[in-house]
Assembly symmetry: C3
Homo-oligomer: 366 residues x 3
Amino acid sequence: MGAVHEALAALSLVDHHCHGVVTADLDRPGFESLLTEGDRWPGGSPFDTPVGVAVRRHCAPLLGLDRHAPPREYLARRTELGWREVNRRFLAAAGTGTYCVDTGFGPAELAADDVYEVVRLESVEEAMAAGGVEPDAYARAFHSAARQAVGRPGVVAVKSVAAYRTGFDLDPARPSAAEVERAARHRLAAGGRLEDPVLVRNLLWTAVDLGLPLQLHTGFGDNDIRLHRVDPTHLTDWLHLTAGTIPVLLLHCWPYQRQAGYLAAVFEQVYLDVGLTLHHVGPARARAVLEEALEITPFRKLLYSSDAYGLSEFYALGALSFRKGLGELLQDRVDDDELSLSDALRLAEWAGAHNAHQVYRLSGSS
Amino acid sequence: MGAVHEALAALSLVDHHCHGVVTADLDRPGFESLLTEGDRWPGGSPFDTPVGVAVRRHCAPLLGLDRHAPPREYLARRTELGWREVNRRFLAAAGTGTYCVDTGFGPAELAADDVYEVVRLESVEEAMAAGGVEPDAYARAFHSAARQAVGRPGVVAVKSVAAYRTGFDLDPARPSAAEVERAARHRLAAGGRLEDPVLVRNLLWTAVDLGLPLQLHTGFGDNDIRLHRVDPTHLTDWLHLTAGTIPVLLLHCWPYQRQAGYLAAVFEQVYLDVGLTLHHVGPARARAVLEEALEITPFRKLLYSSDAYGLSEFYALGALSFRKGLGELLQDRVDDDELSLSDALRLAEWAGAHNAHQVYRLSGSS
Amino acid sequence: MGAVHEALAALSLVDHHCHGVVTADLDRPGFESLLTEGDRWPGGSPFDTPVGVAVRRHCAPLLGLDRHAPPREYLARRTELGWREVNRRFLAAAGTGTYCVDTGFGPAELAADDVYEVVRLESVEEAMAAGGVEPDAYARAFHSAARQAVGRPGVVAVKSVAAYRTGFDLDPARPSAAEVERAARHRLAAGGRLEDPVLVRNLLWTAVDLGLPLQLHTGFGDNDIRLHRVDPTHLTDWLHLTAGTIPVLLLHCWPYQRQAGYLAAVFEQVYLDVGLTLHHVGPARARAVLEEALEITPFRKLLYSSDAYGLSEFYALGALSFRKGLGELLQDRVDDDELSLSDALRLAEWAGAHNAHQVYRLSGSS
């Protein structure tokens, strides 16, 4: 094992974007539904996918099974050990010291030094809307609820899932008070999710007012996404208008990792990760995705996230894919003398931990 | 040769989408015009392309020539042998046991166990329109003609070239009877090809009514395509509306193979291949394209097709590129212990034959 | 070193698109601002990028420093040598015999046999507009100014930066005289840059009238670009309308190199390069980008350019990335017997020099 792999193996990662883990035993349908971003399909199993293969290869040994254990055996062993022990093992294997979590993640489950919170602005808006507010008070009430949410201890960033609601081919300008009020009238009468384009724009501009780093889901996700509308380059005009205000962190990005890298290269405030993708493509392709993500991305702009959700396997698998993929990429460049070892080690530490410490101003910053 | 290559070499492929082969001798201009999807260009020859190099490398030896034989020698030998012998050799070399053919493919030319038919719906519509029909009877007449066409023995699927006519950035909803009649009035008066967006939508919804699997050309083709409009993710809303009805098979896909893989991962009914691309990029790049196509695609969702048309070389070259590209990809993962050998063999058999057997319910299903 | 690498090392390149080099000593901020296409960012240095690493690796030794010399040391040595010696060394290292330059590039700085000029049409238009013209004379005056500009000795092509001004999702038709006059009225009253879509279309059609090859910036550039609007496939309808007139050379293309390759494969008049990208991704990724660019591109359609601007490092780094990337790609295919050595040598010479000689009809054509 080369020096880069050793350094990455020893590095306490900052997972700057993840979700909660299931704290219950799972039956096969429950496990399989969390294994995929997709629908179920007849005659197939979510285990017959790149992520399914990766779980059997890399997670089975952590449960004391052979590599490539069959699904039935894997799930039986998972049940036998119980969710507490399973989660403990996978979270320990992740080697992640710091988590920034977008929803409730039981701290008891974490073998982490630090847990921070990321406030999902759509949830704030929807709770406020459900609680009752007049259209002419909408903007102020949302701002105030968001301000209150980010004032909680441990909050380091906000997040938007605008990608799921409208995509990014929006008018980049801040909507006027009259536009917001008019849109709020319909939205509050209709209830449900925030999907109005004017109010999604209002949400993005509210994020600017809050002053915290903004995480934006881009690219890959479930089938609520219209993938071509979440190419992050649709954000270009908005990034021009908001330059000099808040850091913007592009999450996931696949298959637009090159486009995200372009934005990170030409806009001071833009950062990116390839979370979610890392465990879905698995260690077999994590390097290829990272190679593209790093083609022009400045080294201070790449962050690590797992975007793990539900299965504790994903925390381990995301970290493993990142360490293996980035390690191979960097070690080969060092071996080819395209990169010095000290530069490679610096880049690895930046991407795995330090860039997140800096952009979120985490305490105990490395 | 590893176990995966051996298994793929022995596998009788199902080519789930191809066209007819020329049953005549070809002069140089005739051969060259079939070798390219493009215009001719001055001072260049279609042999000076990746596919031209691949033909000289891999097809020349099947005609008894040296590898990399020059074009003149290659064509002379082709003429010397005659089209019957040339086609016999290449079709035998393909190792394809089952073909699903979109237009007339002389069965005598096939060294295949089974030949099935795919009905191109635009051809049905254009024949019906040319035959004379009143606008208010258009929808019913098209449905009826299509129903009759798919009732012929051996028909297993329908196909649409909507990609060539309008692209996929269409209103996804089924058009109303009044809209169809109004559009039909213009279309029937104008004659010619089906290009009206409302009638293209009507065609796609007619495919849903027919209940058979629908093959959709996406991505790469000739210059009738507006490539950015045939990114298959433009179909997302239509896929939501038609969920639970018919299987949808995305053909070609390049350079949107990752986007196609996303759709296959999140929609139960979506399948994909990288046909046409395989012989145009040649064995030198088939693996790279397959790697991207398989990044997140479930293993039950990838199919093999050659999309061969005209030259019997393409049936051999498509099959060779597929076997070599997929074989290397899988064998390397087995060698790296990222994939078990039994999983690799299963994936190869599924992609090369079984997935097609299942989605088209072919007789003699493996 | 294999035969392909040797041939490429010995080949006198034609750099068919580049800019002027700075003829002055640069302080650190001056150097760093030329090293990046992006904004500056706090806590980071443009040296912490793929191009920064490539400069320290490949350019430092040309200044007599160790590989991977630190930025401070690199810049000190650059100052010590002075800009004349620095430029002399890097331009000599480039091994470029012929330059086609889009703005003034002091011939004294060039170790080149030939320097040709490319006329940027937006500059012609803006000089004419600033000089004063009546709206009804706009079209004629622009045509006449452009005609005069291309009549200068050594002019071999025109260039447009329409990508920066409007993107390519434009009405492809030639605008009417009345439309041009109406748009000119506003544009001339407002002054400044040419950004009106009607007048950008008029510019592209004026290029057709001039009859010279047209270079089009596509893909990657600074943050004036809306990347998704400069995918060159948006030009498809315009390429249909202008078929049979002028050669069109797609510059840069990344991350749309496959899309550009598609256009080059299906339109007689389309050519492409991956300039600018080559030095920004560096030798570590140049091959990967070239592999994609060459997936289906005919071998007579790929050209070399550095798109170097400002820093003489880029002339050397672009040439090095091209030679190394293309050399590895071709040599590996020769080693795998996918390509004959003579074909590989031919392809290398075509891409590095001969294709440009032919499309621009350069004197002393190889």
